[in-house]
């Protein structure tokens, strides 16, 4: 994984979020206040601009930290601080590993750091019907694939599949955190919009690692 790969992840996420903004907003209208797609679209658009403004000799760590800062600055709502913190923590974990090219193990450590950041800030546990319900199975699946000797693309694909299944698992749940919790039992029967957008972000990761050829992200953006 190099800086161009990390930048492609942010750009591809922005593209997927923009294409899916209406669906995310519709999911949010059912159990929240109907602006999740709009807010994330604004946040990731700002993240792309921040990443584009970085100098050419940047690192994957700096790319994710810049994207995270922009998301905190421009998104608002709970998703701004949560996704912004997730990316900044992931970037900081990569900075500790160092280097311009990062392997599957380093990316796994970054995803784990992102999850820890989200849980620390949002205080949500699995089963609360939040983005954590997509992020935990994603990290678990990534680590399992890594332990089985999978390359970075296969690990990322496992994480994306885990996140998608985790998002689906929120449908029957009654929300205990976030705005959906105000609906009480009426929040059950709906897909959590935060879990849905987390699944999109991990799908973007799987897509760009696959383009990169499997062993590492490479090529220009």
């Amino acid at each position: 994984m190099n800086a161009a790969g990390a930048a492609r992840w942010i750009r591809h996420t922005a593209h997927l979020v923009s294409a899916d903004a209406e669906r995310l907003t519709r999911l949010d209208a059912a159990i929240g206040d109907g602006d999740h797609g709009l807010n994330l679209d604004r946040g990731f658009t700002a993240a792309v601009a921040a990443v584009d403004a970085l100098p050419g000799d940047t690192t994957p760590a700096k790319v994710l930290i810049a994207a995270g800062r922009a998301i905190v600055s421009k998104t608002g709502g709970a998703s701004g601080p949560l996704y912004g913190t997730a990316l900044r923590r992931a970037g900081k974990a990569l900075a500790e590993t160092g280097g311009d090219e990062l392997d599957a193990a380093a990316l796994g450590a970054a995803l784990t750091a992102a999850l820890e950041g989200v849980q620390e800030l949002g205080q949500a546990a699995e089963g609360d019907k939040t983005m954590v319900d997509a992020l935990v199975p994603a990290v678990t699946a990534y680590e399992a694939a890594l332990a089985g000797g999978a390359d970075i693309a296969a690990c990322a694909r496992a994480a994306a599949d885990g996140a998608a299944q985790g998002a689906e698992s929120t449908v029957p749940l009654q929300a205990r955190k976030g705005r959906a919790s105000y609906l009480g039992p009426r929040s059950a029967g709906h897909l959590d919009p935060g879990a849905a957008s987390t699944a999109l972000i991990l799908r973007a990761l799987a897509d760009v690692t696959m383009e990169g050829g499997g062993d590492a992200w490479s090529g220009s953006s």
């Binding site: 907003t25 209208a29 159990i31 929240g32 206040d33 109907g34 602006d35 709009l38 807010n39 604004r42 905190v72 600055s73 421009k74 998104t75 608002g76 709502g77 709970a78 998703s79 701004g80 601080p81 949560l82 800030l121 949002g122 205990r176 955190k177 976030g178 705005r179 919790s181 105000y182 609906l183 009480g184 009426r186």
Partner: protein
Amino acid sequence: MRKLINAPAGVVSDALRGIAAAHPSLRVDPVGGTVVRADAPRAGKVALVSGGGSGHEPLHAGFVGHGMLDAACPGEVFTSPVPDQIIAASMAVSGGAGVLHVVKNYTGDVLNFRMAAELAEDEEIEVASVVVDDDVAVEDSTYTAGRRGTGATLFVEKIAGALAEEGAALAAVADAAREVNERSRSFGVALSPCTVPAAGAPTFELGENEMELGIGIHGEPGRERVAAGTADEIVDAALSAIDADMPLSGAEVLLLVNGMGGTPLIEQYIACAAAHGWLAAHGATVARSLVGNYVTSLEMAGCMVSVCRLTPELTRLWDAPVETPALRWGR
């Protein structure tokens, strides 16, 4: 969607330009998203900063002025402000005596204000925060997001603002704000949904003879959908829910009958009469009343009833002079 707007994306900044034009007593940054008292910073005075999503006007920008807030940071419609805005507002009003952040209890507001408070402390501004969570429609629990901040936000901002204007220290102002929150409860009812401009469609569908009980202020559905009732029945539902959580018998109360944005004042006064009747019948004395659209949810129809159990000191601070676009007396 029929709305008096130019473009959905410009709703907040266009409205802020209007607030700037109408109220020379305020310093408005329509792009940065801050509304500040023109005479800020005031040396030695504790500054009050609040903020939240837009769409609740006059909350919060309409409460900026003498005896209430020093600054407001309006976010996008129904979306909390970002830390940059909150820091900019805090720095603009900091007079060396500290800044109190008044935060409504929504995850987004709490997280963005928390991030801003940490960054403000890097600028050597002392920040205290009080979280308003007065809505009894939501069950309180340490395992959930907890209750929403709604109508009592006005009580907190007015009373803590009065104490700050008198020169009280940050800890005292924060304690007063917490005391008001602890002594206040609210319950809201919706008779129609509202439409977020950028979304373009109503937040929920409601049948001709239905209403939503236990709503918040973001166009979200409430806890329960029931058959529409009379003003007396609606007020009974609201005050019964409040009374079950915070007994009102024997109390001297401050009453807010708050329009949600789409209900005419004549109907709000009908609800006010019902509330006075209900409170008298249940052994409470209404010492002060306020009726009008203060904490709104765009064009949602319906009302919210908020009650604060007063003490002589809280009554004195409520009566203290205030001069803001939306609330003014005594000066």
